[in-house]
């Protein structure tokens, strides 16, 4: 297979085009801009639409409109832009539409900074918009994984008729690595049962809507959606377990941070501390079974994040607080170093 050296943001865009994305609506923001720039260059030639909207809010509502017609549509942004998009994401979820949203995270809150961060974990997994709903959230840790998860996000979004998010960060977006692109079938799912793409007087109207004025109707629609979420929680979790079989200290990290942690785990092993790495690849649904499997012999857990501690909550819930869970993080765009993480592992390993 053909190998290309690509920047993370460009690989995300190329993967989306190959996955059959026909509509991209976006608005530039560092560190995600290369994605939109690449789309601007390539989308037209591959028979799709690239449009730079007048704002993030316009972009996400264009995605809502395009997704209503059954075409594969996506948008991308970085943290402050995603906040603006949250209303539209809620409408997309409420209308049961497939769409892909990419967040190349930067530091927050407010305008924050432009260096990598993971402080949008809570936003992505708990509250990207109002109302009872969830998104599929994928956390790639390499440029190749970004490609694979864009393809998967489009596929699963279509399969479950729900929005899916790629939660990357500035580090992954700006990084160059070799990638290969898989074979993709963009038409794996039949959308003719709901897509509002013109009835030509030959079938019933299809209506895309998220407004239910009768409370029991709204409740029913949400309960139905949550049945779907239960299936997803059973079948869609993914995680990487590295040296967890005999580990005393289980270090948990996702995305780019997991690469730093992996070096620290190897260093700890070289110094005789039994450390292991648990890396969730899906943040929602959180890999509960997998973390319990990884933590079965561990005496303590450590969550390493580029935030003040967000995933650490989900870890405590997943293991029912059965073991002590520690936290180490750098935030505001500072990337933790393997040496810092190793010191933390030693601290915890020494107290066992």
């Amino acid at each position: 297979m053909e190998r290309n050296l690509m920047k993370g943001n460009e690989a995300l865009a190329e993967a989306a085009i190959r996955a059959g994305c026909k509509c991209f609506f976006g608005y530039p923001i560092t560190p995600q801009t290369e994605l939109a720039a690449y789309m601007a260059k390539r989308m037209n030639k591959s028979g799709g639409v690239f449009l730079q909207a007048e704002s993030e809010i316009a972009a996400i509502n264009m995605v809502l409109g395009a997704a209503s017609t059954g075409v594969r549509a996506m948008t991308s942004s970085s943290s402050p832009g995603i906040s603006l998009k949250s209303e539209g994401v809620s409408y997309i979820a409420g209308s049961d539409l497939p769409a892909v949203i990419i967040n190349v995270e930067r530091g927050g809150p407010g305008l924050g900074g432009i260096q990598p961060s993971q402080a949008d974990y809570w936003q992505a997994t708990k509250a990207l918009g109002h109302g009872d709903f969830q998104l599929l959230v994928y956390a790639p840790a390499s440029v190749q994984e970004m490609v694979d998860y864009v393809v998967k996000a489009f596929d699963r979004a279509d399969k479950y008729r729900m929005p899916a998010m790629i939660l990357a960060d500035g580090l992954l977006g700006q990084m160059m690595e070799p990638v290969t692109f898989p074979e993709i079938n963009p038409d794996a799912y039949d959308k003719s049962g709901w897509a509002a793409n013109g009835h030509k007087m030959q079938r019933e109207h299809h209506i895309i809507n998220s407004l239910y004025l009768k409370p029991d109707e709204l409740e029913n629609s949400i309960v139905e959606r949550y049945k779907k979420y239960d299936i997803i929680k059973e079948t869609e979790t993914e995680a990487e377990l590295y040296l967890t079989e005999d580990c005393d200290v289980l270090v948990c990290a996702f995305g780019a941070t997991a690469r730093v942690v992996k070096s620290a785990v190897n260093d700890a092993r070289a110094q005789g501390i039994k450390a292991g790495l648990f890396r969730p690849k899906t943040l929602w649904p959180f890999p509960v079974k997998e973390i319990n499997e990884a933590a079965k012999n561990a005496k303590a857990l450590l969550s390493v994040e580029m935030s003040m501690g967000q995933m650490v909550d989900d870890i405590k819930l997943a293991i029912n607080c059965s073991k002590p869970v520690h936290f180490f993080g750098r935030t505001g765009g500072v990337i933790p170093t393997p040496a810092e993480v190793l010191d933390e592992i030693k601290k915890i390993g020494g107290n066992l």
Binding site: K7, T30, P31, I114, Q174, M176
Partner: protein, 68 residues
């Protein structure tokens, strides 16, 4: 004499070149930024450049050119 130039708009301010330079004459800007908002790298003392091109080789974005 060797000359080091940076395509500033392509630089993301990762700082790898500053670590790679044996003469320690590559530094990140402290005040000026490129259009994306990154503090870009630049040569602080062209006359001390030995043209080894370590910075160019290390640059992940091919933003550095070294001429001899």
């Amino acid at each position: 004499m060797a000359k080091m130039t940076v395509i500033t708009e392509r630089c993301k301010g990762c700082g790898l070149c500053t670590a790679a330079c044996p003469k320690k004459i590559v530094a990140l800007q402290k005040e000026k930024r490129n259009k994306k908002g990154y503090f870009y790298a630049e040569c602080t003392d062209q006359s001390a450049c030995i043209g080894c091109a370590m910075c160019a080789m290390m640059c992940p974005d091919c933003a550095i050119t070294v001429e001899k």
